[in-house]
Symmetry: C2
Subunit: 182 residues, 2 copies
Amino acid sequence: MLDIKRLHIDTTTTLIAMEDEVDRLVAAWRRERPDLDVEPLEVLSRVSRLARHLDRARRLAFSEHQLEPWEFDVLTALRRAGTPYQLSPGQLLTQTLVTSGTMTNRIDRLAKKGLVERLPDPSDRRGVLVRLTDEGRDRADQALAGLLDQERAILAELSRAQRGELAGLLRQLTAPFDNIPG
Amino acid sequence: MLDIKRLHIDTTTTLIAMEDEVDRLVAAWRRERPDLDVEPLEVLSRVSRLARHLDRARRLAFSEHQLEPWEFDVLTALRRAGTPYQLSPGQLLTQTLVTSGTMTNRIDRLAKKGLVERLPDPSDRRGVLVRLTDEGRDRADQALAGLLDQERAILAELSRAQRGELAGLLRQLTAPFDNIPG
DNA sequence: GGCACATATCTCGAAGTCAAGAGACTTAAT
DNA sequence: ATTAAGTCTCTTGACTTCGAGATATGTGCC
């Protein structure tokens, strides 16, 4: 059985690894189900749990700018599109991985707050274009800066080289999902 | 600026790294906001996106056992506790990272399906103990085996050593959240 | 042109989550 | 004993999401 904590110590050479919830979870499964190989949990349970912690941290970071995470997701998708900061609702939903009903609702609420506006698509009368207002762009830019500051603090646990390595390993796992449409 | 794809190639030595959505997202930010250092996104956006993909995959794996992901989370927390498979609602919420209102609702629904039962705590009359029924235990065991099979398939992208390294790096990020109560 | 099918967006109702607070009980200090 | 503060669980109401279907427009074939 692979001893992951030991490997970790080998790579850092300075500190004893701190235990986390997943170490306790895996130990519990090995006690209760010694017949099963639970090694996959060492990676994927950490991914899921870390994502939950990140959601909470993001919510906190955005609250300083009076933005909800879902608002940030939509505004930054438009911001990344570049000037004139316009996308169709359909393009927005493929980027944010939500359903069309949800996106309609989100656009309604963002428009009511004056952060986006709906325009008729000149080339397709079924369609609509969603455009970022100036205030929407500024709010997105400010929130992004705040988010990056907070993420840097979380990642300070790792050296630059370790962050690069981690990003590369994660890419190997995400690439199949992102490239084989699933 | 750190070139993460290059680092990745160095560590694998066999394959060209495939691009993923985060590479495209980061490239868009570097075009639109060249003044910002968006390196943190290389790690943490991948964590969030991978977690979303995992949620979908888990939902699919569990549907073969007529279980929702939230049901699995609660049942397995009890299963891991070991015989007699009892925990308080409070212990369950620290393990599943949901709020107390949500947990009350979940216990209600699981009890209605006959997978858990509520018992008065003999040592604290404010308290309740939630106990797994025999059927609940069997369903949890079956779903866990299915989940592990699926996770092994996702992780087949990585060598055993890479999985160990990834687990160790992730632990360094999760440990502060898990140990400093946040 | 007219018909069938595809596409884009919106509407609506059901379901789950959260946050805040209420109610019941425990603990510790006086 | 009594009081105050703390703990544990449940209740409530607002909010967001999803999924299915409705409406309007576009596209291609005959």
